[in-house]
Each structure stands twice: as C-alpha cells, then as structure tokens.
C-alpha cells in the first residue's frame, strides 16, 4: 500500500539552490526540494553523502554557503519554535546528576505549560521514570526521552538523525511505530535520516536520496528499486518489508 502525504498543499520546508561548503569541501550542491506538511520523509544515501548536513541546514544548525531554506514560507530563525530535533548521538556527561524531569523543564519554551512534560513523557511511555537520572538510561530509553524533548513544545516539524542507532533490535519497531503515531495523530512533519531501507519503505511517504546532490526524491515504493539502491550504495541490496 502506498502512503501519501496528508495536507500536501501546504509547504512545510522549501530548499532552494542549497550548497553547503566546509572550507573547500563541498558537502552539498544545488539542492532544490519541497516537503509538504504532515509528510513522513526519509533521507538516505551513503556515508558522507550530506544527509546530516542537509538536516542540520534545515534546522539552522549549519549555514548554507549558497541558497536558502524556508520553513512555512519564513526564515528558519523566525520558525525555530516549530522545529523539534532528535540528534544521532546525544553526547553528555553521564555522571552529571540531572533527572529526566529537570532536563525537560530546562527545554520548555516560554509559554509552554509544565504539564506538557508529563503529557509528552506519557506519549513515549517514560512518565513513570521521570525522576531517573539521564545518565542511568538505556540507549532506547534515552532516545524516547529525546523524542519527548523534541515534541515538548509542540513542534510542527520533527527532525531525526538516525534515531534508532542507540536502540536494540527489539525496541526498533515500537520506536518507529511511535514516530508513525506522532505523524498520524498530530500531523507532525517528520524528516528522518535512516540507513534502514526496509524501514524507509514501510514508514516514509517520501524519500530523499542524496549523494552530495539530490539523486532522487519521491515515493519510496516507486523510486527505491534495485538500480537506484545500487547507484547510491554501489552494491545490490534487497529491501524487505516487515
């Protein structure tokens, strides 16, 4: 069954002629794309293809050398409050005594009620652990807390950079189901980097294929064929749906 983007008439993210350079190294070149509101989009590509650079540019954490990115027709700075982010690796001092509850309290935006903390922790099934120290959590629990933090201020777009990398195999399905639930229930636009092509095929409405430039963008069922996978990864990879 093909999944289609809801509310596709509203453009959540518009990337125009994006080029990102680090000194003389060109990480991304000439990217043009639009992501509709409510869409679940995956970014795929080999290592060093610019996936994280694209994601960080959309968040305003990496500066474009050329081109621009608009969020709901405005600058990223103006729309920062609409963005949530789950990083690939959340590096912190695990010996530092900070509870989940405190971590989320610090992340509350002005005007967001404290009651949101329990509400969001319930969504990720972590409310009973809110007094636990952040450094005492497993990889999967930490990812859930990071998702709760990312959706705490009710963002309209959620960015995730290989979010399942710290989760064991058993926890992966429920994690992706949670993202699917957030996308369905709150119509949050989701932009997720993933190396798991079967996950992309199952959950994403759209897939962005990168290799420092835009290689393809569209419905994963249509464009993720063996030829495209070979072009991106240089080898034959079979995609199995769960």
């Amino acid at each position: 069954m093909t999944r289609t983007c809801p509310h596709s008439e509203i453009i959540a993210i518009k990337v125009s002629d994006l080029t990102v350079r680090y000194d003389s190294f060109v990480a991304l070149s000439g990217i043009n794309l639009e992501i509709s509101k409510g869409c679940f989009v995956s970014i795929i590509g080999p290592n060093g293809s610019g996936k994280t650079t694209l994601l960080r540019s959309m968040l305003g954490l990496a500066n474009p050398s050329i081109g621009k990115i608009e969020i709901f027709g405005k600058s990223i700075w103006d729309q920062k409050k609409t963005l949530g982010y789950v990083p690939q690796r959340f590096i912190f001092d695990k010996t530092f005594p900070i509870t989940i509850d405190e971590f989320l309290k610090f992340s509350l935006r002005k005007g967001t009620p404290v009651s949101k903390i329990d509400e969001k922790l319930k969504e990720v099934d972590m409310v009973d652990k809110k007094k636990k120290l952040l450094g005492h959590l497993s990889g999967g629990q930490l990812q859930r807390v990071l998702i709760a933090r990312a959706i705490l201020n009710d963002p309209q777009i959620l960015f995730l950079d290989e979010p399942a990398s710290g989760i064991d195999i058993g926890g992966e399905k429920s994690f992706y189901d949670l993202l699917d639930y957030l996308n369905e229930k709150y119509k949050i636009t989701i932009v997720m980097i993933s190396h798991e092509l079967d996950v992309v095929a199952k959950y994403a409405h759209r897939v962005i294929c990168l290799d420092r430039k835009l290689v393809c963008y569209g419905d994963p069922k249509t464009i993720l064929d063996a030829e495209m996978v070979k072009r991106l990864y240089g080898e034959d990879v079979a995609i199995h749906q769960h």
Binding site: F92, F106, S107
Partner: protein, 273 residues
C-alpha cells in the same frame, strides 16, 4: 568563637566569605557542567595584570582587575568562536601572557609589595569596607541573575543545540557566563588569592556532584559545601594565624576527601549488597 566576631576585619572577611561562597559555588556548578574549570584558573591568573595596572596607576586594583578579567573572558569567547584553537589552548595563551604582563608591570614598582602578596595568596585583613560594598553589590546582581536564568544557563551548558531550538540565545548566555565568572573570580581573589581562588569554584561543585541525585540538589549542596568550606577556613586561618586562601582550600579538600570516602564506603557498598 564570639571573640572572632568582635574584630571588624573578621566581620568583613566573614560577610565577604559568605557571599563569595554562594557566588562561586553556584557558578562552579556550570563550570563543572561545561568542563571549564580551567577557565576560572586562567582568569584568576590573568587578573594579575589588572591588579598590577591598578597598583601602578594608584587606582583600585580590584576594580581594574575586574575590567581586565572581563576583557580576557570576552577575548577567550571570541577566539574560541573565530579560531580553530581549543578553548584550553586559548586560556593557556591568554593567562600566561597576562601573568607575564603583570610580572613585568610589577617590576616597575620598587620595594616590597604587601598588596601584591595579599592578592597572590589571599588575606582576610585585606578586605576593606569599600571592597566589601563592591563585592556585596556585584555578587547580589550576579546571584539574582543566576537564580532567574539558571535553567537557561544549564541547558546552554548541557546541550547547546537543544538550547538553540528551545529559543535560547546561546551566544548571549555563553558570553554572560564568561563575564560573570570573570567578575566572581576576581572578587574572590582578595580572600583566596590568585593562585587558589578557582578551588572555591571547583571543589564544592565537584564534591556535591558525587552525592547529588538531581540538578537542584547539586546546586543546593554545592552552595552548602561552599559555605562550610569558607567559614571553617576563615575561622581556622584566624585561630592558627595562617594564610586564609590556603586554609580555605585545604578545608574544601578535606570535605571532598571525606565525602568521597563516605560515598565509597557506605553508599556504594550498600548499593552493591
């Protein structure tokens, strides 16, 4: 004990110590969280140049040292952002350069320099009423700022990207932290001395970190340990006629060792059973 409080110099030293313990122990939590304990040490040493300028120009050395240290703290921030150097390398360069400048400037002043010695090692007799007013007024402003914005400061220190997305002006809070740390360190120089002042920044927060079960308890415990350290150090330095800075640091170290030992022997053993 009552006898100690009868001396005006001791009253001033105790009031200054109580205020500084809150200020430095509170700021120390963020310095430890940011793994920037060396910043306090660097700024303290760099302040020698400001003190030397003040002494040479017959101006209040404490005030000049505050201005000088704030400039160094801002310079550290700018160089960290604009160069590829690590922050510890930048601090190392600026603190040794300022220390060298201070030594060169002081060589222009002939004879024994009691002021300089008290700035180097701390002296409870050195806290004048003007110094106390300056310390108290600046400290109150900084403590109020910390109390209001500690959540934002914590997130900036803990997770810059998360802070940015939570709508916090990360650069502004980083600059303010550096500036307030510089001011607090220089204020502490009178009692603890250039060489030892950063201990009051690091030891209470590090000791509290071992036993704290939340960020809130870390801040409260850090301040309590800071107060016990300063008060016991000041009293012992008076009773045994020893340099105040050194005795305060030794008191803090003893508390640290006791807490680590207690934690390892009782808490961890109990946990492993």
């Amino acid at each position: 004990m009552i006898e100690i409080l009868q001396f005006p110099f001791m009253q001033r030293a105790l009031i200054a110590g109580i205020i500084l313990a809150v200020l430095l122990a509170f700021l120390g939590v963020f310095a430890v969280l940011k793994r920037m304990s060396f910043l306090g040490d660097g700024i303290a040493h760099a302040s020698l140049a400001g003190i030397a300028i003040g002494l040479l120009a017959s101006l209040n050395p404490l005030v000049i040292a505050i201005f000088y240290s704030v400039i160094i703290a801002l310079l550290i921030y700018v160089l960290e952002k604009k160069t590829k150097l690590s922050v510890d390398a930048i601090i190392g360069i600026l603190f040794t350069a300022s220390l060298a400048l201070g030594v060169v400037l002081m060589s222009f002043k002939s004879g024994y320099q009691p002021d300089l010695i008290s700035f180097m090692f701390g002296n409870i007799l050195a806290v004048s009423i003007n110094d106390l007013i300056l310390m108290a007024s600046i400290s109150v402003v900084v403590i109020i700022f910390l109390a209001i914005f500690y959540k934002k400061l914590s997130l900036v220190a803990f997770d810059k990207e998360g802070a940015y997305l939570a709508g916090i002006n990360v650069s502004l809070f980083e600059i303010l932290f550096n500036v307030f740390l510089a001011i607090a360190i220089v204020l502490g120089v009178k009692i603890l001395g250039i060489i030892l002042v950063s201990a009051l920044l690091i030891i209470p927060a590090s000791t509290a970190k071992i036993v704290s079960k939340s960020f809130k308890s870390l801040i409260i415990l850090s301040i309590i340990i800071g107060e016990i350290t300063v008060l016991s150090g000041l009293i012992l330095s008076y009773v045994f006629d020893l340099p105040s800075g050194a005795v305060i640091v030794l008191c803090g170290t003893v508390i640290f060792i006791l807490v680590v030992s207690f934690y390892r022997v009782f808490i961890l053993k109990g946990y492993n059973k």
